[in-house]
Symmetry: C2
Subunit: 106 residues, 2 copies
């Protein structure tokens, strides 16, 4: 997994919404996704391209249509490799800050 591609893909609100819509209803075509996206089809295509490049979605061609499916694996990997690490130290980090603030005030 390319951490950077995943984070950059998630950085855009349009792309997060596309993932939301696919989460609500998986396997939609480009046309279906465009109906609700208030921008040109070609722009949506670009966003979907970045999502696919980050491996956040997978696509299947069916005739002249292209179906889009969420690939939840990289999201989970982001959590595993990056978020959880910070979570583990959560309380101790807050404790450090509290200590520092108290030290300063006295």
């Amino acid at each position: 997994m390319d951490d950077d591609k995943v984070f950059k893909a998630l950085a855009d609100p349009t792309r997060r919404e596309l993932l939301d819509r696919l989460y609500a209803r998986n396997g939609q075509t480009l046309g279906q996704l465009c109906e609700t996206m208030d921008m040109k089809r070609q722009s949506v295509t670009q966003h979907l391209g970045l999502l696919e490049d980050a491996n956040l979605i997978s696509t299947v061609r069916r005739g002249r249509e292209k179906l889009h499916y969420i690939n939840p694996v990289p999201v989970y990997e982001v959590y595993e490799r990056w978020v959880r690490k910070f979570e583990e130290g959560r309380l101790s980090l807050l404790y450090d800050l509290k200590q520092e603030l108290e030290r300063k005030q006295t």
Copy 2:
């Protein structure tokens, strides 16, 4: 929490590295962080500013120094509000994709 600010802040590798360094050693000054960052102090300041704006770090002034501390809360909130949602549907989404692929091939 501002989802967008958090995601955008996490989108840059330099900022993720800053969080990594603060995770390894919390409460570092700007100067300390600059020593290892291979870019001008002013650029690091900008990155730290975005991290603070996203509430990913907190700062404490101590004399002429500025100490930086990780604030793990928004990272956890990103996980709670966004990552976990996708995690919950993980298996079923993979099942959808498998179904679709099989349907197409037959």
